[in-house]
Structures are given as C-alpha cells and as structure tokens.
Symmetry: C2
Subunit: 153 residues, 2 copies
DNA sequence: GATCGATAGTTGTAGCATCCAACTAGTTGT
DNA sequence: ACAACTAGTTGGATGCTACAACTATCGATC
C-alpha cells in the first residue's frame, strides 16, 4: 500500500518540519526568558557543548554548534563574564584559548537541563514507550542526515 | 526491556530538539538567502498559511503561525508590497482586513514548495518507506501535543 | 444616538542571533 | 627574518521577534 509518492511524503514532512521549527523555537525562547540566569538561550547551547563534550577552542566550539566564530566569540564573552565559562590559554598556541565550563557553569547547565527535561517529559507523558523511542531514533537519524548531506550542498 | 527512565528519554529527546533547531534553522536561513524572491523566510510561512489554509485576518494569521500581531503586520506589509498578498477590507468590521494570497503569491509559494520538497526528498532518499511514514506520523503528533500542551503553560 | 470600554491593526523601540568583513596578534615555513 | 597563514575579536548590518503606545473602529448600554 503505497499511494504516496516520494514527493507527497516530502511535502507532508516539509509542513511538519516548519511547524516543528516554529514551535520548538518559540518554546525555547520562552524558556530562556523565564529563567533569568543572565544566560542567553544561544549561549546555553555552547555551555551544553562544553559540559557534555569537553573543553575546546573557540573555533572548534563554533563548528560543533554550526555557528560563526564571531557569534560564538561574543556569546562566550558573555558566559565568561557571568562566570560560567573559563578561558584558559592554549599552551600550544598563543593566539588560541581553551574554553571550559566552570563549576558554576556545570551547575547552571544541569539546572537548565532538568527544567527542559521536565517539560519534554510532560509532553511525552501520554506516549507509549515504543513511540517515544522510535521518535527519538528517527529524529536523531534525520538530524544526522541533515548534518552530513546538508552541509555539502 | 526498559532501562531508560522517563527522564533519560526526555533528556535524549531534548538534545535532539536543540540539534534540530539549530540545523534546520540554519538551513532555512540559507535557503532564504539563495532564493531572492525578495521574500523573507518568515514571510514564507505566512504565505504558506494563506495559500493552504485560506484567507484570514491579521490576528488570525498571527495565531496560526504562533507569532505576534505586530510581527505579522510588518511581514504582511512586505508581502503586499511585493504583490504576493492582497488586503481586502473586511465587510464585517471596518478595522480589520482580510488577507489573501494573490495569484503571484500562489505561484511563488508553489515554486518554493517544490524546491523545499526536492531537498527534503533528497534527505529521505535512503530511508525505508516505513520509517518515513512513521517519522511524519510521530513528528506530527508531537507538534500537536506541543500546540495543545505547550501554549497553556 | 451619544458615550465608553473593548478590539484590530500599525508604528516605535528594543533585544537577540546571526553573518560578513576588517583588524590584531601570534605562528609557521622557507 | 620575512612572508603567508591562522585564531580570535570587533564593527557594521540584517532578520525576527516581542512589548508598549497609539489610532480608528466597533458594540453595548443608558
């Protein structure tokens, strides 16, 4: 039973993707507004990266989050000012610095993560175990596909 | 086999949501930059709504796309200037106007949609039929959940 | 049918996120 | 030691968004 052509499928998915983007983006923005750690939403992604994936240079961090170096540079400055991230000179290169989350940064990250998790969990509350896992699996695969196919276009 | 608690699941999904937001958001921005219809990315969502869901007032449109009225008002102005959307006075209310896509607007929408579909189809190219359908189904359900549970928080 | 509170939409202002381009300072190869 | 390169910062610009103040209309009530 496959009356749906590839394009029809793509079309329906496209609609859902746009909807998804809008919804998640907005929710993210609201989350940020409410928390008031002095930490911006975009910066949270940087913090998350540093905490979960370890210290790294600005350039590497920018690549990790698919952002411009200049953007990251500014955001990192803010994080440093708030004491959430630490700049360590890179012994191997005087121009570079290694960015690392401070203890405070880790705490803030954890706190935010817990809030986020609570919210997500609430959304998934009625879902059967099977569907949840499937959704994560598919979304994750889609993202990966996007990262590999999308960047080289 | 369920060693994953609800929170672990939420956590993994959260990560994927953030990843998605960044990836798709960026791709969207690039798409916009390349097309040069004079049409902004955000405005495209408005056009899409008017084409697929029919004419409506500014307020209703803003609600449909989960945006502020003022934001929509400006974006609509741009669309009107480009001849993609038409403002019709609302016979039932002198303050309001009914927004509707023009023929040009529909053409532009269709063209953009085709490009988008091609891109999405390419992403899904290697996916088994089953998974594609499942993904759309789950994503769609998640969006609905988000819209109903998310807004009243 | 005049008055006053609600409502539709516009415009002013401000913030964040992002990018590109120009710049500074340190590095590396010849 | 000089030239070509690279890491990061800063300047300038744009897009998207929201909130607040304002204008013009509507509707209910007296």
């Amino acid at each position: 039973m496959s009356d749906a052509t590839d394009l029809e499928i793509a079309d329906r998915l496209g609609v859902q993707l746009i909807r998804f983007l809008k919804l998640v983006g907005k929710a993210g923005a609201q989350c940020q507004a409410s928390h008031e750690d002095g930490i911006e939403r975009a910066s949270y992604a940087l913090l998350a990266c540093l905490v979960t994936a370890g210290p790294r240079r600005t350039t590497a961090l920018a690549e990790s989050v698919h952002s411009d170096t200049s953007t990251v540079s500014r955001q990192v400055s803010a994080l440093v000012q708030h004491g959430l991230v630490e700049r360590r000179p890179d012994p191997a290169d005087g121009r570079a610095c290694i960015l690392a989350a401070t203890a405070t940064g880790e705490r803030v990250y954890e706190r935010n993560r817990r809030v986020r998790n609570g919210y997500v969990a609430e959304l998934l509350a009625d879902w059967p175990e099977q569907d949840r896992k499937q959704f994560i699996e598919l979304l994750s695969r889609f993202n990966t596909q996007f990262e590999t196919k999308g960047d080289q276009r």
